[in-house]
Symmetry: C2
Subunit: 460 residues, 2 copies
């Protein structure tokens, strides 16, 4: 089956392979899917269908389930001949040697953590496609010019420790280690990110830094998490970049009072005011063709017959351009103050009893400016897509901008980067029903493999 | 100091006392306040002023702090010569014998539990005024015609176990014991009301029933919890009745989705929909000069970058008349369904992107129809108020309807009942800053004492 090359060794060298030889290296769809579902035994979520694999995932970062998935990743990549490094953020780098081991590896990477009610594909598919790449290279005795690696980034979701992509953020020197280590978990619990790392024994000694674990490039396969590919009947998204987003915390302070004895005009109802803000943020986003979303809301004291005195909620605002996100923030800052003061913003007060004024504070927790990926990586993904899709390729690919943030955003600050998207059913993600067809998973993994090999081959 | 009466014994008998002798029985303001603040060491809440007693209370029903306050109540009333009975709801009845001990006692009662961020007066004042009554009777060697009692009702607030006045509700056969015993606590925790009762050793063996612990009458001193007395410069509210209210749970079900990749029109955002409902409930209440309040709101899954798929919130609706509350419920049922379906109710959708339809379910958890107190008790309170206030009395009292529910609502179903209100600062209650002046506390206690004695004297 193997074709020996002109090389003096029995190994196949990427730089000596012709287009046909390269394209003939193929991922194994069955093995990829079996591996993926195997690791989904750790953190299995809500069932949505009858088949054994038709459940969601609930694998919060650094939870006991995440530890088991990590252990599998370390053991598997080591048994495939990789050297494994764990850094101070618990990022796991598995490196397969190349002909030249002085230069940094070309990476495939993503994350094994999920949302509390997430699916089996977001992040997980990208890591498994990386592992499948290692298996394809091994079984074909391929020796790359430079090392190739697979990286599992910690707490990409920001669902347990509320800063998404925090560990690639530290690696790229965009987020201070201290900020990351002292993050408090969101749900009832007392862990910080660093105590959680120690607790599961993944607080590595290697600095979390691109200078300690450098990368030649970072490629990430991911489900689109939106409906565009499916709607357009496309198979592969070639990702040019990622839209801008900010995460805000809004705190509204009014006054606790009795629901039965306090007339409406004597109230400073923090929840009623927060409701107006939420509705207004949606209008602000609509007007700009942008997004605004609240995923967390807490109130105090939390009793049926006490008007809440304090409400705190998250606000996630996104748009393709930085200036639109900045403009939304400006509008929100101005308008939320007016809403808290009791002014009628956009007719929200129609039919309402005027109440006492309240206070509002707005904190920016996270800022991810719009990202453009590297032309060389985008080109590698395009070539890989055409190689994988065959003659009909042109009709099956689509260039696009990612709506979600990914570790590739931070990776791209320190090395050439791009991403590969595959369609997911109805664009649903961050939901147990998230689903990507087996052949689409495999096609994405095939494009990832080919992208890494093509990038490796083109290196100086 | 004591005036011996025509009685053949050295004791003072209520039915033989003239108006002057009766009015000369006086509560001790200093002792009352010292006792009250003494028991506020158990469950002390947030500090709002510099004085040692300037803190709120946080004494959820059947908590360790509530147990200590209960223990104090049992020990104190027993040492004052009372017989103490604890029933299957943990209600504590302390009975001081009278000349005739066959007939049921005339009670003073209220509750020792508080809101999570409550004050030192709501409920607590009423129980302490009852204990002070016992002390006044003892130190003056007064023997009443029939027994008098003081009752501490369990979980009046409904703040830990979400059914207010639940234990007087069981006592009056308005709420089944099983419903009450199986109530789940609201905040993270796994107790039911009955396990919590056992845990602190207050699950009594006497049935919680008016047939086991009957009452001749129930008088309750309480802070007004609203601003009317203070605004009108009145000292005593003679309470004619209590407004109607219902507690509802609203559950909105949409779909979890990714905040970055799901465009606004492809969402079924349960929190945005709940915000519209909240705002609308406020408008519905405004239009009817009624009240609507949400004190609890929970959402799932609770992650910054996941649009919530499910939101559940409480809705407390109140008005003086039953038909207004029923009308509000009808409107809310109709309009919430429309809002969930995406219809524009009252212009709430102006400027919003239309989204996918959602589901809503509405559960009625609690219904307290409008209550009218008993003319004989209202008359006893009036006479007592004039006796306590002296010549200027007419200008200092006010007849009123209670905005809040009280155990007197359920007591009134089984025995003649009325209440006495005293002003509280700015009408603030269910808040740590809740405050009632010492002289107003004492005046209220004086009216309570006189009401009970006058009722006792008029009994056949
Ligand atoms: N892909 C993904 O869900 N990333 C989490 C960061 C974000 O919210 O965009
Ligand atoms: N008085 C008082 O706060 N009672 C609780 C029941 C209610 O919410 O009205």
């Amino acid at each position: 089956q193997r074709t020996f090359t002109s090389s003096s060794t029995w190994r196949l060298h990427t730089q000596e392979m012709n287009e046909e030889q390269l394209s003939s290296l193929k991922v194994n769809q069955k093995r990829l899917m079996e591996d993926l579902h195997h690791t989904c035994q750790w953190g299995t979520g809500e069932r949505w269908g009858d088949a054994p694999t038709e459940t969601g995932m609930s694998r919060l970062a650094l939870s006991p389930a995440d530890k088991l998935a990590r252990d599998w990743f370390v053991q598997t990549t080591e048994s495939l001949g990789c050297k494994v490094t764990i850094d101070a953020m618990g990022n796991i780098f598995a490196i397969r040697p190349g002909l030249n081991n002085i230069e940094p590896p070309t990476y495939a990477g993503s994350h094994l953590d999920t949302q509390p009610t997430g699916g089996r594909y977001d992040g997980i598919l990208g890591v498994h496609a990386g592992v499948e790449m290692l298996k394809v290279l091994n079984e074909n005795w391929v020796e790359t010019q430079y090392p190739v690696g697979v990286v599992n980034w910690t707490n990409e979701e920001g669902a347990r420790f509320p800063l998404s992509m925090v560990s690639s953020g530290v690696w790229s020197h965009s987020i201070p280690l201290k900020t990351a280590h002292t993050l408090q978990e969101i749900h009832p619990g007392t862990s910080t990110l660093s105590t959680a790392l120690s607790h599961i024994n993944y607080l590595g000694t290697v600095p979390a830094s691109h200078t300690s674990t450098p990368m030649a490039a970072h490629f990430e396969l991911h489900i689109e998490q939106g409906p565009l590919l499916e709607m357009a009947n496309k198979k592969i998204g070639i990702v040019r970049g990622v839209q801008a987003y900010k995460w805000l915390t809004i705190k509204v302070t009014g006054r606790d009072s009795h629901t039965g004895t306090t007339d409406l005009k004597s109230r400073a109802d923090a929840l009623l005011t927060a409701s107006k803000m939420l509705l207004h943020s949606h209008k602000v986003a609509t007007a700009r063709n942008a997004l605004a979303s609240t995923g967390i809301l807490n109130l105090w004291p939390g009793s049926t017959n006490t008007v809440p005195g304090v409400v705190e909620f998250s606000l996630d605002i996104r748009a393709p351009h930085d200036d639109v996100v900045r403009g939304m923030l400006d509008t929100i800052e101005t308008d939320f103050r007016k809403i808290a003061a009791g002014e009628d913003v956009g007719g929200l007060n129609t039919g309402c009893t005027p109440s006492l004024p309240l206070d509002v504070s707005i904190t920016e927790d996270f800022d991810s400016p719009a990202t453009s990926f590297h032309p060389r990586c985008i080109a590698a993904v395009s070539e890989a897509a055409y190689s994988a899709l065959g003659p009909d390729g042109k009709n099956l690919v689509m260039e696009m901008t990612s709506g979600a943030g990914h570790d590739s955003v931070y990776a791209s600050k320190r090395c050439p980067t791009s991403m590969i998207f595959v369609p997911c059913r109805e664009g649903v993600s961050h939901n147990p029903r998230e689903f990507c067809k087996e052949e689409d998973c495999a096609l994405g993994a095939q494009v990832l493999l080919q992208s890494v090999l093509r990038f490796d081959r083109q290196r100086g």
